[in-house]
Amino acid sequence: MTKNQSNRPNVTLSMGVKTKETITLVLIYMLLIATAIFALYPIALVLIGSLNPGDTLLSTTFFPKNMTLKHYTYLWNETEFFTWYKNTLKIATANMIISTFLVITAAYAFSRFRFPGRRYGLMSMLILQMFPGFMGMIAIYILLLQIGLLDNHWGLILVYAGGSIPFGTWLVKGYFDGLPRSLEEAAKIDGASHTTVFFKIMMPLSYPILTFVALTNFIGPWMDFIFARLILRSNENKTLAIGLFEMVTGIDKTKFTTFAAGAVLVAVPITLLFIFLQKYLIEGLKAGANKG
């Protein structure tokens, strides 16, 4: 009612409103386009840089006259890039399997069993996940040195897996707590063992959170720099993050196009994985904040 009354008396005013609205809309579209350029520019620079015949940023133009794949063949023939790739893939896969296993078993125990020491266990997990991860860096270095796992992939995998337990356990435990117990109880009455209940009932129901845990643990090693730099020393043991970092910060900083080719080879699979599983990532992050 009030709306109609206020609009009716002056028709010319509403015309003015309409042109104003169109102008705002045009401005907003321009803003959206500008932001899209801002968002895409670095990605485009890397993508085009990798196909650019020049070697450095200075000698390349944003739109090159001709494209080349020589930087990719250079990576294949002259550098250890594919060894690093294999290393990273191996570490990421192993970390995903071990971490997910450790997190699920611990979360299942904390969620479904009542045993002496349970509350202390949960409380210590909670406190432990608050410490910045690399406070223990020096000790980890010395420990791995002592047991001969320095400059060894398994040493790094152990460190990643150990670090993922406290937070992951709380996250997955919170999810398990939310699942109804009636199914399990029915299965137990039918004589199912703890292990059967776990694999046949809990696992299928917690698919989303398991995807999240597995995915974050798989992606983690691709991104980590701190521990990889600390533990892996020799060139043939490096992971991609260190290798690519050294390509643009080393003594010869001029390898931008080679770096770009390497970056494309890393970014494409990770980005695709990320986009396909985005739904789970957002859900998992929300669960981390709301449900614990």
């Binding site: 009030t2 709306k3 907003i28 959206l32 932001t35 899209a36 968002a39 895409l40 670095p42 990605i43 620079l45 890397v46 940023l57 944003f62 296993f101 450790l102 997190v103 078993t105 611990a106 125990a109 349970r118 509350r119 949960l122 409380m123 997990m125 909670l126 432990l128 608050m130 910045p132 690399f134 406070m135 223990g136 860096m137 020096i138 000790a139 980890i140 010395i142 420990l143 152990l158 150990g162 337990i165 435990k173 703890h194 992606i219 991104m223 600390l230 690519l244 643009v248 910060t249 931008f256 990770i270 980005t271 986009i275 985005q278 957002i282 981390g288 904040a289 709301n290 449900k291 614990g292």
Partner: protein, 446 residues
């Protein structure tokens, strides 16, 4: 008459629990033997004998090492090692391992006493004491949880608890270059000296306060800027007049999907003062190039812009979900009341979104406070600041700690600063956790 004998019996039998607990305190298993649980008693007894016989000496040696951190320094004659000497840091780690094992042993000892006490109570009430077979069965029933937990506990103790304890204790030693680096020289306990130096020695305190101030500004600006940019774009795209919603969203999500270290290294090149494309463009339109990464102000500015690029897509994706969940009728009611677009934004959208995302906002603050990757990959803490010890103008506490540990051998100072970082960040995490559902259900708040 009957009543009296009952009381007498109670007075007499009350001693079962007490005597059992007392005997088990004297030596493991004695209380169980007293309760005629022979197999269990003998097993407990043998465990303590084994520990006493085989572990006393190593334990005493470990404690000696832990307390003194070694007494014989390495001796060298004409550059050759004549006597290996004690390695303080190895002694310290060994000490921590033995202390952790000792705590586990104490826990077993305690459960032995408690078991003797509980069995005693059962006898006082005239109930049948469980046989060994039954005990074994109970252990299997309750033990399933422990079985599930064992791998995680081992991993956590050795890869998280032990390193953290060591990291904390380091702050109370003088483990630092160039004079206190094993195996060449010994390390000693120095109490709170490291902390006193950090606050009172000019070279350290200036760096600490300088880095801390920038760290705080950085955390606030980085969090707020990404949050609001995400919100604004979510609102714009969500507006009914905007077409191709999915298209815009998928473009803006790309920076988040790209591996961050790759984008950061690309930005490092884009902002490069000499050959970076950004300065080339500026020069092409007749402007002067800006010393992006070599001037403290511009380097900080670049960090915030890059972080905005990296961080806003996450908030946009999250808030798009929140916005579609808001009741449309509220906006219609606001329209009826003649609210302007900006009023609707500030009075309706912002409070609702804030309410839904507050915990995530706080987590994001804690994350940005320790955002090592952005700083290290983009600027490595540079440009150099001559007034700072081992830190550059864009270093935050965590990257300063990293440099002190890996590049400068200032282990004790790095440990002290880590403890302070924990003191700053932990209350945020505790507050955040204390209001989660999982936490409340555990009733951990007393």
């Amino acid at each position: 008459m009957n009543e009296q004998s009952d009381i007498a019996a109670m007075n007499y039998t009350k001693k079962y629990a007490f005597i059992g607990a007392f005997l088990s305190t004297l030596f493991m298993g004695l209380g169980q033997l007293y309760h005629r649980q022979y197999v269990k008693g003998v097993l407990y007894f043998l465990l303590e004998v084994y520990v006493l016989v085989f572990w006393t000496n190593p334990f005493m040696y470990a404690m000696w090492g832990f307390i003194t951190l070694g007494e014989t320094p390495q001796k060298r004659l004409r550059g050759k090692i004549v006597e290996q000497g004690d390695h303080s840091i190895f002694l310290m780690i060994e000490g921590i391992i033995f202390l952790l094992l000792f705590i586990i042993f104490l826990f077993v000892y305690y459960s032995n006493i408690r078991d003797a006490y509980k069995t005693g109570r059962l006898r006082e009430k005239g109930k049948v004491v469980s046989t060994f077979k039954k005990t074994l069965h109970n252990v299997w029933e309750n033990g399933y949880a422990y079985l599930l937990l064992t791998p995680s506990i081992i991993f956590t103790i050795f890869l998280t608890v032990l390193p953290l304890l060591f990291g904390i204790l380091l702050a109370f030693t003088n483990y630092s270059g160039p004079y206190h680096l094993p195996p060449k020289s010994l390390v000693d306990w120095v109490g709170f000296k490291t902390f006193i130096d950090l606050f009172h020695l000019k070279t350290w305190s200036k760096t600490f306060y300088g880095v801390l101030t920038w760290n705080a500004i950085w955390a606030v600006v980085a969090t707020v800027s990404t949050y609001f940019m995400g919100l604004i774009y979510a609102v714009i795209i969500n507006h009914k007049k905007i077409k191709l919603k999915r298209f815009w969203r998928s473009i803006y999500i790309l920076p988040w999907a790209m591996p961050a270290f790759i984008s950061l290294l690309a930005f490092r090149n884009i902002f490069n003062g000499e050959f970076g494309p950004l300065n080339q463009y500026l020069q092409a339109v007749g402007l002067e190039g800006i010393p992006w990464l070599s001037d403290p102000f511009w380097a900080r500015f670049a960090l915030i812009v890059v972080n905005l690029w990296l961080g806003f897509p996450y908030w946009m994706a999250l808030m798009s979900g929140v916005l579609t969940g808001i009741d449309k009728e509220m906006y219609e009611a606001a329209d009826v009341d003649g609210a302007s677009a900006s009023q609707k934004f500030w009075k309706l959208t912002v409070p609702m979104v804030l309410f839904a995302t507050a915990p995530l906002l706080i987590m994001s603050f804690a994350h940005n406070f320790n955002n090592f990757n952005v700083v290290y990959f983009l600027t490595q803490g540079k440009p150099v600041n001559v007034e700072y010890s081992y830190a550059g103008s864009t270093d935050i506490l965590i990257s300063w700690i990293y440099k002190m540990t890996l590049e400068q051998n200032q282990f004790n100072m790095a440990a002290a600063v880590s403890i302070l970082v924990f003191v700053i960040v932990a209350p945020i995490s505790i507050w955040n956790f204390s209001r989660t559902k999982a936490f409340k259900e555990e009733d951990m708040i007393q």
